[in-house]
Structures are given as C-alpha cells and as structure tokens.
C-alpha cells in the first residue's frame, strides 16, 4: 500500500474548508461542519451538516483482496438508490486513483446524489451521499475533485483536519480518542511506540482571562498526575510553525512515578507543550511520550496548506 508523501490540493483551494479524517481528505463548503464521526481507518463514516440540515455523508471500508471492485460498486449503488436508479449511474473518476467509480445524480431533486469508488492504492471503498435539495453541482464540482485517500500512508506523514484543528503527524498513528466539544477540540493517538494528544481551545483571549497559560499547562498535566510527576519548572518555549506563525508558551516534562516502575509496558515520560497561537487566537496543547514529537507536531498545527 503506497501513497504519495505530498498531495496537491491546488485544484480545490478556494472551495472552502478541509476535512482530513482517517486518511480521507475532503474539501467541502465552509458552512458544512462535521456532525458525526465514527469508526476507524478500516471502516467508518462521517456526516456533515450546515445550520439547517445534513448535507453530506461519507462511508468507507477496506475491501478484501478477493472482492471485485465492480461488483462491490454496483451492489453499494443499488443498495443506496435502488436497482432502477443504479442502472442510470455513470462512470465518474474524479482523479485517476479511483477504480469502479460510479456517479448517480438525482434528476428530480430533492433526492440523493451518490458516488462510489474504490481507491486503487489503499483499497478503501468510499461512498459519498449528497443530500440535494435543488439541482446544483456541489458534489461533482466541489466535493469529488477534492476527495483524496491516503489511508495508512506507511512511513509518510498523516494529516488530520477537523473543524479548525489541523496538524500533521510524522507517521500514521491510530486515533484512539476524540473530544470534539465546541471550542475545545482534542484528538489522541497511540500505538506501541508512542502516544500523542493534540488539543485546541478557542477562543484564546477568553481562555486566558480565566487562567494563565502556565496554569493551563498545569491543568493539562493534572489529568496524568496520578501516574506521572512533573520534573522541575515549566520552560519557556518559542518557535515558528511551518507556515511562519510564531508560537510561544510553556513546556514541562513529567516522569513516571516510581511506584509504577513495574509497569514495563507503560509510558516512562510525558512532555507537554502549552502554546498561544496569537494569529489564530487559539490555545494549543500537545502532549506526547516522545520528547521531540510534540514540538514537531505543534509546528504543523494550523497549517492547512499541504498534506
């Protein structure tokens, strides 16, 4: 399974916001926001809605090697729109990466426009359902050209983008937890080698009225105080992100308490960064088990230009 290290999104640059979830990348109108995000990279779904109604649903699942993409595509389309409508579906490949891709456009809206296809590299079958209230070309002109699948891109970087929290992990680490509250977004990732949590709090100017940034760092680390103890004072950190924004804040290490030393499988230390992104008016917290990883990830937070 291979995927390019860098994906060019220039075609869809002005179509709105980006959603990158479980290796699936979508460009959607800015007013559409995720309402429901389920599953993992092997099988899952997401639902996007605007203020008034649901707009777009995406489902994906990795197809076994023996599955014929054409048969799968035909079956999924029939299940979604019925046999009669499925026979009217036409081949539509928004890029050259999709096999057995079919598009059905509802001739008499309101109804559903459906696109199905299997990514050649990742073998993920993707189904996109657009709730068309009137006849428009949002699915064909905006959504499908921006659809890209990088899946578990091996050693390559993994881009995540949901609401306005976007960052790049240096490699694929499975998502193990998510908290997507209004104004407080947090994604946690872990595998056998490392664990990392990225959290973004909005609006920073209001959050800093309640607590100082150093206090926020303390609150972030408080959750793990039972098993880890802070080492020394917090250090001042400053660096520049990949797109040139200055981030300043605090960093502090925590090490495992001695009474847990027998837990050989548990993490030995945690490094937490608490940063103020002045230009975006957000607080960013990155906590990882590898001392270098939080800084590498924090440098990419808020960079929605490239994968």
């Amino acid at each position: 399974m291979t995927a390019p290290d860098s994906v060019n999104f220039t075609r869809t640059k002005n179509t709105g916001s980006r959603l990158s979830w479980q290796g699936l990348h979508l460009s959607v109108p800015e007013k559409w926001n995720p309402l429901k995000l389920d599953g993992d990279d092997a099988k899952g779904s997401l639902l996007l809605a605007d203020l008034h109604r649901s707009r777009l649903a995406v489902r994906w699942s990795v197809l076994p090697e023996k599955t014929d993409p054409e048969k799968w595509s035909s079956r999924v389309m029939t299940e979604e729109v019925g046999a009669l409508a499925a026979s009217e579906a036409v081949a539509h490949d928004p890029g050259s990466q999709w096999a057995a891709s079919r598009l059905y456009v509802e001739p008499d809206p309101p109804g559903r426009d459906v696109w199905v296809g299997m990514h050649r590299a990742t073998r993920r079958g993707v189904e996109v359902v657009y709730q068309a209230k009137r006849r428009d070309r949002v699915l064909v002109d905006s959504v499908l050209p921006g659809l890209y699948d990088t899946g578990r891109s091996g050693e390559g970087a993994a881009m995540w983008s949901v609401f306005d929290l976007n960052f790049t992990l240096p490699r694929w680490i499975p998502l193990v937890g998510k908290t997507l509250n209004a104004g407080d977004l947090s994604l946690s990732f872990a595998d056998k080698q490392t664990a990392i949590t990225v959290r973004q709090v909005a609006v920073a100017q209001l959050a800093l009225k309640r607590f100082t940034l150093e206090q926020w760092l303390g609150r972030m680390q408080w959750v793990d105080r039972a098993r880890f103890k802070p080492v020394g004072e917090a250090n001042r950190v400053e660096f520049v992100t990949v797109n040139g924004r200055a981030l300043a804040g605090w960093s502090r290490r925590m090490v495992q308490r001695r009474r847990y030393a027998w837990m050989r499988w548990a993490w030995r230390e945690l490094t937490t960064l608490a940063l103020h992104d002045v230009s975006r008016d957000r607080l960013i917290f990155v906590q990882g088990t590898d001392p270098q990883l939080p800084t590498r990830v924090a440098e990419t937070v808020g960079d929605a230009s490239n994968v």
Binding site: S17, N33, L51, F163, D164, A182, G183, A202, V203, Q205
Partner: protein
C-alpha cells in the same frame, strides 16, 4: 415505537429564525475587576419570599463572559438566533457549528431562568445560504 422521544414543538428552521428578547429589566454592569454582570430583582412577595425571609430589593446576579455579553446584547427582539450565531462566528473566528452549540445552550439557559423569551415565527421558511 410508542415509547420514545417527545416530538419537539418547533422545527430547527423555526428555532433558528426565532428572535430572542429580554423579558427582564437588567442593566449590564462592569465590576472593578472587569467582570460583567447582570442583576435581576427577585420577587420577594410570594411564599418563597416569606419562607426564606428575603429582604426587599434582593437581586440575583449572573456573571457573563464576552460571548455571553454578545448574546445577551443581541437579545433585542430583532436579531434572530441564526444571526446571533453568525455574528459570534464572525467576531471570534469560529466555525458555525462551534458557534451554534454554545449559543443555543446559553439561550436555553436564559430562557429556562426566565430572562429571555423567544418570538417564534409560525410560517417562516428556513433562511437559506
């Protein structure tokens, strides 16, 4: 299923086009520490006033943050819920969804506490983008 969720009285479109209006006379006061508060007079005449021996002129105070102030000041009977959400989203650079959730929650609190009433248009079509 006959046991289930109660059907909401209003549709989402109606809820978004509702215009919240303040139903109590309360001035927004900024304290020395910069905290903004509204004080509402408590009715001391009823049985609760008798039982709890509330003094005349007793008030209850609500502390508002900047977002709360923006929503409170927008409850003028002219601005719709949807317009408040858009205003909040624009002013604080938030997604519509990120602005929608706290706004609706805060308005619900204000309504439950009897500070704000809602004027719901009956036959209004949803405002489309």
């Amino acid at each position: 299923m006959w046991i289930g969720r109660k059907k909401p009285r209003y549709t989402k479109a109606q809820a978004l086009s509702a215009r919240p209006v303040r139903v109590v006379e309360a001035a927004l006061v900024t304290s020395d520490t910069g905290v903004r508060k509204i004080s509402i007079p408590i009715n001391t005449r009823g049985w609760a006033g008798f039982v709890f021996r509330m003094p005349q002129g007793a008030t209850k105070t609500f502390e508002l943050d900047d977002l709360g102030v923006l929503v409170w000041e927008s409850c003028d009977g002219k601005t719709s819920v949807q317009q408040i959400i858009r205003k909040l989203s624009k002013q604080y650079n938030l997604n519509l969804r990120e602005a929608e959730v706290p706004t609706l929650k805060f308005l619900e609190t204000l309504v439950r506490r009897g500070l704000v009433g809602m004027s719901v248009p009956q036959a209004k079509q949803p405002e489309q983008d």
